[in-house]
């Protein structure tokens, strides 16, 4: 509450919202020497600092990729942890340059909230977790159950819709942070905990006894998660969008962190354009032409980042599924660089 007031005061008096920042986000970032990245501060796999303050996660990697493209230095990404509730105000007021915080792309957020979604870096859907002891096999059996949920999310809206559509009685217990919601669920305050399926996989790790809980099969919504920027700066919008596409294209062409230097010698015109050995594709974005090379060199391609943070190389062990490449049965499809 207090932070919202301060942000508002800043926005109103100094007028950071648009007057100073619009159309010059890139310049502001270059002058400042770092990117302010609105992140999740508590979600394993997406955004979480460790005890030494080192941040990891799919969304964290995304910001590091941006920093690599602009500064050739991933450590120039600074992370601002935001709760679900405060994140939009933080972006609107200019406190962060972008929001890469497992945020669902919806029509109202894309329009009246003053921001634009750039691309989808994780295709998700909402699920439920319950205690095994309850012997529940389907979300449709949850009528009359108490459900713990986090406020300021699409989750709480989908939950209400789902129960209404299926004529089930609902007892929601709403918390401001997922930490509190998970703790209350773990203490038995609720029968079920609900959030994005990826979030369930991450939050599970915080429970006292992981094996006492199951995730139900139903996926009750579409949650396209992606980075968002403020309205009014097309250049910055393009940079953020193409950072994701560069990582996906790199995976498609088989360019990895390990082989990117060799790939620079490749004759494949697609690879040459992406890595900047042919054409002036970086310049058009306001970046050096080897922008994508820097991203892959420092962070890796989309698949590498996925496996490291949420896939088999992580405790979450999420399968690629919808997030596989388009030519491998998934939905990740990037427009060509040309």
């Amino acid at each position: 509450m207090k932070s919202v007031v301060i942000r508002l005061a800043l926005a109103a008096v100094v007028g950071i919202v648009a007057s100073a920042a619009s159309a010059q986000t890139l310049n502001t970032i270059k002058t400042r020497g770092s990117i302010n990245c609105g992140s999740n501060g508590t979600l394993a796999g997406f955004g979480l600092p460790d005890s030494q303050g080192r941040w990891t996660g799919l969304d964290v990697d995304f910001c590091k990729a941006l920093a690599a493209a602009i500064f050739n230095d991933p450590s120039k990404a600074k992370f601002v942890p935001l709760t679900a509730k405060d994140r939009f105000t933080a972006l609107q007021s200019g406190e962060v340059d972008l929001l890469a915080r497992n945020t669902t792309w919806t029509s109202s957020r894309d329009t009246s909230l003053g921001m634009n979604f750039t691309a989808i870096n994780y295709f998700d859907g909402q699920g439920f977790m319950v205690r095994k002891a309850l012997k529940v096999n389907s979300a449709l059996e949850l009528g009359d159950a108490a459900v713990c949920v986090q406020q300021g999310t699409t989750t709480e809206l989908n939950l209400a819709d789902y129960f209404r559509a299926n004529k089930m009685k609902l007892k929601t217990v709403t918390f401001a942070t997922s930490t509190e919601a998970v703790k209350a669920y773990d203490a038995g305050r609720c029968d079920a905990y609900t959030t994005d399926a990826s979030g369930l996989a991450g939050e599970r790790l915080r429970l006292a006894n992981v094996n006492d809980h199951v995730i139900l099969p139903e996926v009750i919504s579409k949650e396209p998660l992606g980075p968002a920027v403020r309205h009014g700066d097309d250049q910055w919008f393009d940079i953020v969008k193409w950072t994701h596409y560069a990582m996906v294209n790199a995976e498609e062409f088989g360019i990895t962190q390990a082989n990117v230097d060799d790939q620079k010698k490749s004759d494949n015109p697609d690879i040459k354009r992406l890595l900047g050995t042919e054409g002036k594709h970086g310049e058009a974005l306001g970046l050096p032409d080897d922008w994508a090379y820097r991203i892959i060199k420092h962070v890796g391609n989309y698949g590498e980042s996925f496996e490291r943070n949420v896939g088999q190389g992580s405790p979450l062990k999420i399968a690629r599924g919808l997030n596989g490449l388009w030519n491998k049965g998934g939905l990740q499809f990037a427009p060509p660089v040309r």
Partner: protein, 393 residues
């Protein structure tokens, strides 16, 4: 007239202190108005440029989210405006009950701290010093987690005789349903309350005139409690109860008191009572010792001496700081957000703000609400204080 004017040397207007004073005031006002206007104008312009929705059109839009405690009819298809009222009532409920209980507990502890009994005084002192010095947020989290951990699951609910159930989903009380014949008891209750007021006025007048005391407490209780109960019994007890019973997941039926509510009320009362205790202690100590001695020498025992002589005088010192404790309690109730109690800040300045993205409008409304609650509270307390002050003889 003209003669007077010429007889005095004509001073320039800028040397006239009154005119200068007025000019400064006008300038200051103009400056403030200009600053406010430019801040509003600037904000509006920036919001428009960023294409962020503005205005109060959202008020009637469908909220779409569920709320765990609603004192008025509310469903997920209700409007944001309705959600606002739900939140406001939840805030008023917690603040109202908090003020009542914190006052009672605070007075008890404040008086206990002055007790001649060493142990009682020390315990009261220990309470005040510990509770005052631990941040309220920590206390709330402690109470909430303690409540959740200590209470059994739904299946192992404690049954309190009379059909009340207690578990980690809350306290479930039997819900009375009154039959048509219960209206006689209602009439008796209204009559009882009126009669008790008349009786008290009469008893006070008589005491002023003759010095004779009347058993006000017992007669009032009889009129307000026993009389309606007797009428209820005579009309054949037309009350049935809906008893809470366990369903598959939760308790169904009955009146539900959420654990979030209990923890918040508990935390706020315990915390604020520590401050009120100090206010009360200071108030009592401010009454000169001679007053107590005079009361004793008139033959009053310590209890009545405190109640009839010391406290009424102490009240004049107590009420102003007590008012700020009430205001603090109300404002502190916004910490509800940390433990999931759906107060105005959680619902309106939290969920509604986030879902609509209209931070400026929502925060302005929320601040106006708290300002109004605070002004009304201090207005009422000032009224009360003025009445106390008039009693001075």
């Amino acid at each position: 007239m003209a003669a007077v004017e010429t007889s005095r040397p004509k001073a320039l207007l800028i040397y006239n202190p009154k005119a200068r004073g007025i000019a400064y005031q006008v300038l200051l006002c103009a400056l403030i108005v200009f600053l406010a206007w430019s801040a509003i104008h600037n904000a509006a312009e920036n919001l428009a440029r960023a294409k962020i929705a503005t205005g109060f059109g959202f008020w009637d839009n469908t909220a779409g989210f569920d709320i765990s405690q609603t004192l008025i009819e509310y469903s997920t298809t209700s409007s944001y405006g309705r959600a606002f009222w739900v939140g406001l009532l939840n805030t008023l409920l917690i603040a109202g009950l908090g003020v009542v209980f914190a006052t009672i507990l605070g007075f008890i502890i404040g008086i206990a701290r002055l007790s001649k009994n060493w142990l009682v005084a020390r315990m009261a002192g220990f309470y005040v010093e510990t509770i005052r010095n631990i941040p309220l947020l920590l206390q709330l989290l402690f109470w909430y987690n303690a409540v959740l951990k200590a209470l059994p699951s739904v299946r192992e609910s404690f049954t309190i005789p009379g059909g009340t159930l207690l578990n980690n989903r809350g306290l479930f009380l039997p819900q009375p349903v009154f039959g048509p014949a219960a209206r006689f008891a209602l009439i008796a209750l209204v009559f009882g309350i009126l009669a008790a007021i008349v009786y008290q006025v009469w008893a006070r007048r008589r005491q002023m005139a003759t010095g004779q005391q009347a058993p006000i407490l017992w007669v009032s209780l009889g009129l307000v409690v026993a009389l309606p109960l007797a009428v209820l019994a005579l009309s054949g007890f037309p009350v049935t109860f809906i008893y809470p019973e366990s369903g598959r997941f939760n308790i169904r039926g009955g009146i539900e008191v959420l654990p979030e509510f209990m923890a918040l009320l508990f935390g706020l009362v315990i915390y604020t009572a520590a401050f009120i205790a100090e206010v009360v202690r200071a108030g009592i100590l401010a009454v000169v010792r001679g007053q107590t001695e005079a009361a004793y020498s008139l033959g009053l025992r310590p209890g009545p001496a405190l109640r009839l002589v010391v406290i009424p005088q102490a009240m004049r010192v107590i009420v102003p700081p007590l008012t700020s404790q009430y205001l603090n309690l109300t404002k502190n109730s916004t910490l509800a957000v940390a433990i999931g109690y759906p107060d105005l800040v959680q619902i309106f300045a939290g969920t509604v703000l986030n879902q609509t993205g209209q931070a400026v409008e929502v925060i302005v409304i929320t601040m106006a609400v708290y300002l109004t609650i605070s002004l009304v509270t201090s207005g009422l307390m000032n009224l009360y204080n003025r009445r106390m002050a008039l009693v001075e003889r």
